[in-house]
């Protein structure tokens, strides 16, 4: 595998590569292995990046892309991984992000941390402001900012507040900040996730310019369109390994997709749940979810779907596709504007707040267990009760006996491994916490239960138990919407699956769909509005 990789990337030198660089790779990482808690997140991964090369990295969520990049950018410090890593022929392993940055490697994350109240220049050069005697040298700062903003054709003064920049300009400004410190390698994590079509084109033009200036670029993306447009070479990762490397002339979407999901292109296993009555429980029509800051942008566009009684419906999409945005819109927690027609149990439903949604029989198991799920420091009973306290209380007083009994029954059903229902939820493992949160929604007897990445961070055993509970819940008549970017999960659970990409519906499949079709739909970027 290694020798193949090398020959391919060395053969990839048709560009005007500067003399001094010939023969030496910009980055050469060999046999990088990194484990989290004994599980290999990266398994002997090797890659090579030459001067001026734009290297695409693709793979499913959890394939190890980010881990590899974090190793390169010093976020995972030396000693926490094994393998060798050379920058311009010199062995170097970084102890910190700062060290990596000084050496010339900068990672620009998917979610930028822009301080909107600071000026553009301050954001660009944060941590490295030009100083004279302890004070910020404003003249120098302005000159530097002007130079790099001009380079990226951003016609805004560096002293304006960063909030005037569009998302793509923000990304360019962060790249400019990195380049001003003589960055040699830019690692871009999902740079196009929040960009419009036009902005993407502009970003790509700039990337090509940088590549002519012999900057090496690593481009992580879920979107194969992006990869095809801009990358010279693509590596495909799966389960912590680099399974394939293709150069531009060999790009083949079929091959990329099948490498991403593994060799088995078998049809999806038919889910055991067959209790599909015809009664519609939930429907959404022409849903538009606006960006909370820029109302003219859409996070979800013209999305329609239905779920029936006893049906488990999948909503498959990659990170940033608009899945969670849709769920939050239904549940009433999306901060931006939402339009469209919703029906629950045949009645019109206007999302306004979680309280309203819960009252109308909707439950939502969120993706972010720590932030929006568990109540830290409180007991299991209290964590289970929070959404359905009314059901175990009379006239505002909690009835102790039914309350305790209900929690205990749920814990038993879900096989929660805990000593007692009075135990602090933080003492449980991730899987058991997730079961408690599922219990919270089971206790509300919902009509529609939305599960957002229900098994993220859950070990394999607990995962299957959660699936079985979800199936039992469906056969009792509840309809379930499973949001997932995990193909195995979708194929294991769902009777029917919608695929969302770039905020739009890109496919609806019965449960005999192939994984390849699902992945193809999820990586498709619709050029023309579907309506």
């Amino acid at each position: 595998m290694n020798s193949k990789l090398e020959s391919e990337s060395l053969g990839m030198e048709p560009r005007s590569v500067p003399r001094e660089a010939v023969g030496v790779a910009l980055i050469e990482a060999t046999d990088i292995t990194k484990a989290f808690a004994g599980v290999n997140a990266l398994h002997s991964a090797s890659l090579k990046l030459s001067y001026g090369q734009i290297l695409g990295v693709v793979g499913e969520n959890g394939a190890g892309k980010s881990t590899l990049m974090k190793v390169l950018a010093g976020i995972h410090p030396r000693g926490t991984y094994t393998g060798s890593f050379n920058l311009e022929g010199q062995e170097c392993q970084f102890a910190s992000v700062k060290e990596a940055r000084n050496a010339g490697i900068v990672l620009i994350p998917q979610e930028l941390s822009i301080a909107p109240n600071l000026s553009i220049a301050e954001n660009m050069f944060a941590g490295d402001l030009p100083q004279t005697g302890g004070f910020v040298n404003e003249t120098e700062l302005a000159a530097r900012a002007a130079k790099w903003l001009e380079f990226f054709e951003i016609e805004v003064s560096g002293f304006e507040s960063a909030s005037v920049l569009s998302p793509s300009q923000q990304r360019l400004a962060m790249m400019a900040g990195a380049l001003s410190r003589n960055a040699k390698v830019l690692i871009l994590d999902e740079p196009t996730a929040s960009l419009s079509e036009g902005e993407t084109v502009i970003l790509f033009q700039h990337l090509r310019r940088l590549s002519k200036d012999k900057i090496g670029i690593v481009f992580i993306s879920h979107r194969l369109d992006d990869i095809e447009q801009v990358c010279d070479q693509v590596i495909i990762m799966r389960n912590g390994k680099i399974v394939k490397s293709l150069s531009r002339e060999d790009f083949n979407r079929e091959e990329i997709v099948s490498s991403m999901i593994g060799r088995s292109l078998t049809a999806i296993k038919r889910s055991s749940v067959t209790n599909k009555s015809s009664q519609e429980i939930f429907s959404a029509e022409s849903v538009m979810v606006h960006d909370p800051i820029d109302n003219a942008r859409y996070r979800v566009e013209n999305f329609s779907m239905t779920t029936k009684q006893g049906e488990i419906v999948g909503l498959f999409g990659l990170v940033g596709a608009g899945r969670t945005e849709f769920a939050r819109a239904v549940f009433g927690t999306w901060p931006g504007k939402v339009s469209g027609e919703f029906k629950v149990g045949g009645n019109k439903f206007v999302p306004s707040s979680p309280k309203h949604a819960v009252k109308n029989g909707i439950g939502f198991l969120t993706e972010d267990r720590k932030q929006t799920g568990i109540f830290t420091g409180l007991s299991l009973t209290w964590n289970v009760d929070s959404a359905s306290l009314k059901l175990v209380s009379k006239l505002g007083f909690i009835s102790q006996v039914p309350d305790k009994v209900r929690t205990r029954n749920l814990m038993e059903q879900l096989d929660v491994r805990a000593q007692s229902s009075d135990q602090n939820i933080e003492t449980l493992s991730g899987g058991n916490q997730q079961k408690i949160l599922l219990g919270r929604w089971l206790a509300t007897s919902p009509k529609l239960l939305i599960l957002d990445e229900p098994t993220a961070g859950v070990d394999v055993g607990a995962r299957e138990e959660i699936y079985q509970r979800v199936e039992a819940l469906a056969s009792s008549g509840c309809s379930i919407l499973v949001i997932s970017s995990d193909l195995d999960e979708i194929s294991r659970l769902c009777n029917r699956t919608y695929v969302i990409s770039g905020g739009r519906l890109t496919g609806e499949f019965e449960n005999n769909v192939s994984r390849r079709d699902l992945m193809a739909a999820a990586t498709k970027r619709l050029r023309v509005a579907t309506n």
Partner: protein, 401 residues
């Protein structure tokens, strides 16, 4: 020690948990600190501190702080704060003084009017915080300034009074001895019945979910422990009351208010939601809990307590004085924190805050008997607050891990 905890491990999980809350680190340390302080004060004051007369005085001194600390604990559990307490209580006190001394309104009506007025002040702050989204730290800081200013303007920074003796009796009066004793016994009986019912409901819930019952000897032990915890303070109170005139009226107020607050926080959906909102606003929102309603109600309840405290303050002083209630908010927050209520919300209890309030009062009272200057008292209080917080941050957290 290890032998003890090994013996402890054989206990039923529920029994162990209940016993460790009853005799938890915090409660034990409280008792220990009380005993140590009492001994020091008693010896160095030549036997004045531990007399029924002084302790009765101490209870009356601590009553207002206890009530207000209970209220601020409720807000802090919600992850809110109230800095306006001193000014709000002062303003309510001014109103109570005017009602009874200037306008000769009957005492009962004056009490009701003052409490309603306090709720109005709470409502104003609730609107700032909940409707307009101003952080409670700032909104109540504005209250601290404005309510003191209104009160001072209204009275021209003068004294309003004197209030009639029957109004003073609301705080400084005593319940006649026979009735006092009857009340104490009644509370003891009610406590025993409550504990019995609690264990009965425990048995029932275990029977329903087909869990093993608590072994009989352990159940009896738990029962005894709970009775001990209820009876000990009642016996001490009986000794104080018997030695000096009866139950102080101020303490009756404390008992009523704190009992209501405790029931509210531990038995009702409102109280449960307050803890949930305080522990995680986001998770509470995603559970469909009405966060605004919960926080709003919290401020209104706090407002009612301004009224109660205002009545007691004016009654205790015999008139409304311009400096009344100053820094009361800081004492109340300190009491709550010492009593285990976290500024981050979601943990602590009203009873803990009341214990904290009385601990501060013991220190005040003891140092006053010893003629320690009020300046030094401030420093001592500061040191105690910091020690309590440091203790919380390190020792207790380590223990829970």
């Amino acid at each position: 020690m290890s032998k003890l905890s090994a013996g402890f491990a054989k206990f039923d999980d529920h029994v162990r948990r209940e016993l460790s809350t009853l005799f938890g680190r915090r409660a034990l340390i409280f008792v220990l600190v009380f005993l140590v302080l009492a001994t020091i004060f008693h010896i160095s004051s030549n036997g004045i501190f531990l007399t029924p007369r002084n302790l009765s005085l101490l209870l009356r001194q601590g009553a207002i702080l206890a009530i207000i600390a209970g209220g601020v604990a409720l807000l802090m559990i919600n992850s809110e704060i109230d800095l306006s307490i001193g000014s709000s209580v002062f303003l309510c006190g001014v109103l109570a003084a005017h009602l009874t001394a200037t306008w000769n309104v009957p005492v009962l009506l004056a009490i009701v009017a003052t409490i309603v007025f306090g709720m109005l002040l709470g409502l104003i702050q609730a609107v700032w915080v909940v409707v307009l989204g101003i952080p409670s730290f700032i909104a109540t800081l504005a209250g601290l300034l404005a309510f003191r200013g209104i009160g001072l303007s209204w009275t021209n920074a003068g004294t309003v009074g004197p209030v009639p003796p029957e109004f003073i009796a609301l705080s400084e009066g005593f319940i006649p001895l026979p009735i006092s004793y009857t009340l104490l016994v009644a509370v003891l009986v009610a406590g025993v019945i409550f504990v019995y019912l609690q264990q009965k409901s425990m048995r029932k819930s275990r029977a329903i979910s087909k869990q093993a019952q608590i072994p009989k000897n352990q159940a009896i032990l738990l029962f005894g422990a709970k009775i001990l915890v209820i009876a000990t303070p009642l016996i001490v109170l009986g000794w104080i009351v018997g030695g000096f005139q009866g139950i102080p009226m101020a303490i009756l107020w404390v008992v009523i208010v704190i009992t209501l607050l405790t029931i509210l926080m531990s038995k009702t959906t409102f109280g449960r939601n307050a803890y949930l909102v305080g522990a995680s606003r986001d998770a509470a929102q995603y559970s469909g809990i009405g966060i605004r309603k919960t926080v709003f109600s919290g401020f209104i309840i706090m407002g009612a307590l301004y009224g109660v405290a205002g009545v007691l303050l004016t009654a205790r002083l015999g008139s409304s004085t311009p400096g009344a209630g100053q820094f009361m908010e800081l004492d109340a927050i300190a009491a709550a924190v010492i009593g285990g209520v976290s500024l981050r919300g979601g943990t602590g209890s009203v009873v803990g805050a009341v214990m904290g309030a009385f601990l501060l009062t013991v220190i005040n009272n003891g140092m006053s008997i010893l003629n320690v200057s009020s300046f030094t008292q401030l420093i001592v209080k500061a040191v105690i607050l910091v020690i309590a917080l440091a203790f919380d941050a390190h020792i207790l957290r380590k223990a829970s891990r």
